[in-house]
Structure formats: structure tokens, C-alpha cells
């Protein structure tokens, strides 16, 4: 692992140490350590099979890691259920579209707050979501299924904000979206961050993701291979070897 970077002064919301995890057949994550700085956007990139999605599943409780720790504000999440992790304020927006298509946009957003169990609080939070994303207010009465892919993504973001997450996990939000729409989605990520949300982003479009982010991490073969500021990582010539094969530094 190459430490290229500054910016570690900020407090860590999430601290992952020596994480080992996989699916029966073998370990996909082979000793991953990384920090997510409070108030920032940390972007994880890497070639197919690097372990990015496995990392997300481990954090959100969908996969129980074999070794290592995942500390949220000092509390170990490893081995907790997804429900417990959610209650602690870690909210994931998954890769595939996940709105209830036959329900209205407002109903979908409200569902993001179902564990709040408080109508007045839910209504306040919906208003707060509309403040971050005024567009969503405009679609409130529409069936979610009638929205475009990019619009649905925005509503998914809004739904995730209902819990005022301590940490927002975004798993490849650009998946399947046209370049023009991508721009809107990335702007939305920036808006959520500007509104105070700490974000851990896994992104396939490495260039756009790293450029957006305060911190960047490149994973390859289940390990963190580069880290630093988003820009440092993007400009590190070793990133080429990590994507296209060949030992780092040899290519």
C-alpha cells in the first residue's frame, strides 16, 4: 500500500482495520484498512473483482466479515445485522434501482424514515429532503416508476437522507446512466455532502468519482493499493498498472 496523502487530520467517522471477508469460496477482501473522514466524500475505485461491493456489503451488515473491525465512531459494526447497522445511522443506496415503482415519489421518500416511527418527525424530514433536492418536491405525486433512471437515483438519495445518516454509502450510483445524467447525479452527491453528510462512494467511473471526492482509495485484488486525496490518487501513475495489470511500479 502506498500512502500518498495528506488530509488525514479530519476525524474518522468510519475506521476499517485489517478486514477479511468473502463468500464461502475464499476471501475477497484480504486485509483492508481505510478511514472515512468526517464531512468528506471518500471514493473507492478499482478494477472489477477488486472487492468494492464486498466492502460495502461488509459495512452495511449484509456480509459478516471473517476478521478485522469496522468501527463507526469507535463502535465495532462487524457481525451486526443490517437493521442494527441502519439504526446506528449507516444508510446504503444500492447499485440497482430500488424504489417501489407503483408508489408515489413522496411515499417512497417517507419509507426511508419508516424506522423513525414518528409522523411529525417524518414530515419534517421529508421537508428537509425537499430543501436539499427541490426537484423531488416537484415529482412528489408521481409514480416512482414513471421517473427516468437519473430521477429515480435522486429520489433514492432523498430517501436515504430521511434518517440523517451518520454515514451514507453509495454503491456505484452511476451504474447504467448516460453521461449527461451522470453529471446531475454527481452534482446531487456534492449537494448532499455540502448539506453535511459524510459519504463513502464506490464508483466505476474512477475519474469522475475521484475528482468529486476529498479522499480517494484504489483497491485491487482485495487490498488497498493507493490512497490519498482524490486528486493525488487520480494523478498517481501507478493507477494504470492497477487497472491494466502488471506489478505496481513495473508497468
Amino acid at each position: 500500500m502506498t500512502e500518498t496523502g495528506a488530509g488525514d487530520q479530519a476525524r474518522s467517522v468510519l475506521k476499517i482495520t485489517d478486514l477479511v471477508a468473502g463468500y464461502g469460496g475464499g476471501d475477497v477482501l484480504r486485509g483492508v484498512s481505510l478511514d472515512v473522514a468526517e464531512g468528506g466524500i471518500t471514493c473507492v475505485v478499482g478494477p472489477n473483482g477488486a472487492g468494492k461491493s464486498t466492502l460495502m456489503a461488509s459495512i452495511s451488515g449484509l456480509l459478516r466479515p471473517r476478521l478485522g473491525s469496522i468501527e463507526l465512531d469507535g463502535r465495532n459494526l462487524a457481525g451486526m445485522s443490517p437493521r442494527q447497522v441502519l439504526r446506528l445511522g449507516v444508510v446504503q443506496v444500492q447499485q440497482n434501482h430500488s424504489l417501489f415503482r407503483d408508489m408515489t415519489v413522496r411515499e417512497n421518500v417517507e419509507l426511508g424514515g419508516y424506522i423513525l416511527g414518528d409522523r411529525a418527525l417524518t414530515a419534517r424530514r421529508v421537508r428537509a429532503v425537499y430543501e436539499v433536492f427541490p426537484d423531488i418536491a416537484g415529482w412528489a405525486g408521481k409514480k416512482a416508476g414513471s421517473l427516468s433512471g437519473g430521477q429515480q437515483r435522486l429520489v433514492e438519495f432523498g430517501r436515504a437522507l430521511m434518517l440523517e445518516p451518520r454515514l451514507l454509502l453509495l454503491d456505484e450510483p452511476s451504474m447504467g446512466l448516460a453521461p449527461k445524467i451522470l453529471r446531475t447525479v454527481f452534482a446531487a452527491i456534492r449537494q448532499m455532502n455540502a448539506a453535511g453528510t459524510t459519504i463513502l462512494l464506490v464508483e466505476q467511473n474512477a475519474r469522475a468519482g475521484l475528482r468529486l471526492s476529498s479522499h480517494g482509495v484504489v483497491m485491487e485484488s482485495g487490498r488497498v493499493r493507493l490512497s490519498g486525496t482524490g486528486r493525488e490518487v487520480l494523478e498517481n501513475p501507478e493507477i494504470g498498472a492497477l487497472y491494466l495489470g502488471g506489478a505496481v511500479g513495473a508497468g
Binding site: G25, G26, P47, N48, G49, G176, A178, P179, L182, R183, F186, Q204, N205, A206, R207, A208, G209, R211, L234, I239, G240, Y243, L244, G245, G246, G251
Partner: protein
């Protein structure tokens, strides 16, 4: 011109999205060719067009100079293009050997012998009586390859043969491909495992957004700026920077 398999200017759109756009790829006889590119770049779509599983909107596919564009999958197979799938297609509740014999037109004994030879060559003959559903993911890929080999195709298209397979089996698969290639088989391989592709292929073609952005020997491809650009993605807002 010695291209055994050639696609010329293939276009294929799904609901307005261009999966392939003037895609021209050549595979020379007796070579192992690689087809790489980021997710969604059109690799599997090109396989589908070549093998008749998807219809090209425009362009042509040639096998040994003969036009085979939009021919049905069974016909393509009969003409000598065999193919495996990214997610293996086997009958889980049949035995390994039964899977091999499903489409066997020959006399039983001969077909059986031939099937066992292929299973033996790929190192899974010991599992012939087991249900295919009990095989590991990597072994299923070997079974699928064995099945394809029985038909003795001239060109074999492999869709992610090393994906999700453990390292020793990856090396085993690579060795078998080398052996088959030495015996004259031509390959076109889609694969994300770069060590596998770069170590095995004579020539690598890179797709991005359905178009060929580079084609050449692995060493050249590995250091090609356009290829890295394809993998790192499009810069959305270069001007917005700081």
C-alpha cells in the same frame, strides 16, 4: 487477409442506447485474441451478435470469409463457432456426463467416449457421475468448455472464463487454452482478469461504449493512454475543477 472471424461495423441498440457502434473486430486464425473494456462497453453484446443470440442492426459477421450475420445460434454453432457464457448454462440436476451427452447426435458409445475424453482433458473426468449442480463454479466453467469442445469448433468464444474462479483453477484453465491453441484452435476471450488476458492473448482489442478504442499486442495495450482512459471513465466536469 487471414482473419478467421471478423465483425465489420456492427451496430446494436437497445431502446435507443447504443451497445455497439460501428464495431469492427478481427480474430486471426490460430491466435488467442482478447476482448476487454469497462463494464457496459459491449463485450458480451458483441459475443451475442456473433453467435446469433442478438440481431445486429447494421454491419456484418464473417467466418472464414463467409457472411454469417444474424444466423441462428444453432446454425452458428454448426458452422464452427463454440461459445461459453459468463454465467454458466448447465443442467444442475443432470450428472456431468449427462450434461455432455444432452445434444449428442452420435451413437451412444462413441459420444460417451468422446465426452469422457474432453472431461479428462479438462481434469474433471473424476466428477463425471456427480450432479453438475454440485460442481464448484470453476468446474462448471470447465464443464461448459468440455461441452463446447465436443463439437470441435474452429473458433471458441469464452465469456469470462476466469471470473470468480480461484487462482489455481485460473492457471489450469489458461494452460488448457494454450494447449488447445497449440493444437490449432482459435480463441476470442472476454475477461476482466488482466493478468489472465495479458498473459494469454496474442492480441487484445479494447471496447469502450461499443466502439473499438485500441487493438494490439498486450504490451502495447497495457500502456496505451486511450485504454486507461476507457477504464477510468469519462471526465464529467474538467472545467469545474477548483
Amino acid at each position: 487477409m487471414t482473419a478467421l472471424l471478423r465483425t465489420e461495423g456492427i451496430r446494436k441498440a437497445y431502446g435507443g442506447v447504443h451497445a455497439l457502434d460501428t464495431c469492427t473486430v478481427e480474430v486471426e486464425e490460430g491466435t488467442v485474441a482478447g476482448l476487454i473494456g469497462p463494464n457496459g462497453s459491449g463485450k458480451t453484446t458483441l459475443f451475442n451478435v456473433i453467435t446469433g443470440y442478438a440481431k445486429a442492426d447494421a454491419g456484418h459477421v464473417y467466418l472464414a470469409g463467409q457472411q454469417i450475420t444474424n444466423v441462428s445460434p444453432d446454425r452458428v454453432f454448426a458452422l464452427g463457432i463454440g461459445r461459453t457464457f459468463q454465467l454458466t448454462r448447465i443442467f444442475a440436476s443432470l450428472t456431468v456426463l449427462e450434461n455432455m451427452l444432452v445434444a449428442s447426435p452420435n451413437g451412444r458409445a462413441a459420444a460417451r467416449r468422446r465426452a469422457m475424453e474432453q472431461l479428462d482433458f479438462l481434469g474433471i473426468a473424476g466428477h463425471h457421475a456427480e450432479l453438475a449442480g454440485t460442481l464448484s463454479y470453476g468446474q462448471r466453467k470447465l464443464l461448459e468448455l468440455a461441452y463446447v469442445l465436443v463439437a470441435d469448433p474452429a473458433v471458441i468464444l469464452l465469456d469470462e472464463p476466469a471470473g470468480g474462479v480461484n487462482l489455481s483453477l485460473v492457471n489450469h484453465i489458461a494452460d488448457r487454452i494454450r494447449e488447445l491453441n497449440a493444437a490449432g484452435k482459435t480463441f476470442l476471450i472476454v475477461e476482466h482478469n488482466m493478468e489472465f488476458v495479458m498473459g494469454l492473448c496474442d492480441r487484445v482489442t479494447v471496447l469502450d461504449s461499443g466502439t473499438v478504442v485500441a487493438s494490439g499486442p498486450p504490451d502495447i495495450i497495457r500502456t496505451d493512454r486511450r485504454v486507461l482512459n476507457a477504464y477510468l471513465g469519462e471526465d464529467l466536469d474538467p472545467a469545474e475543477d477548483e
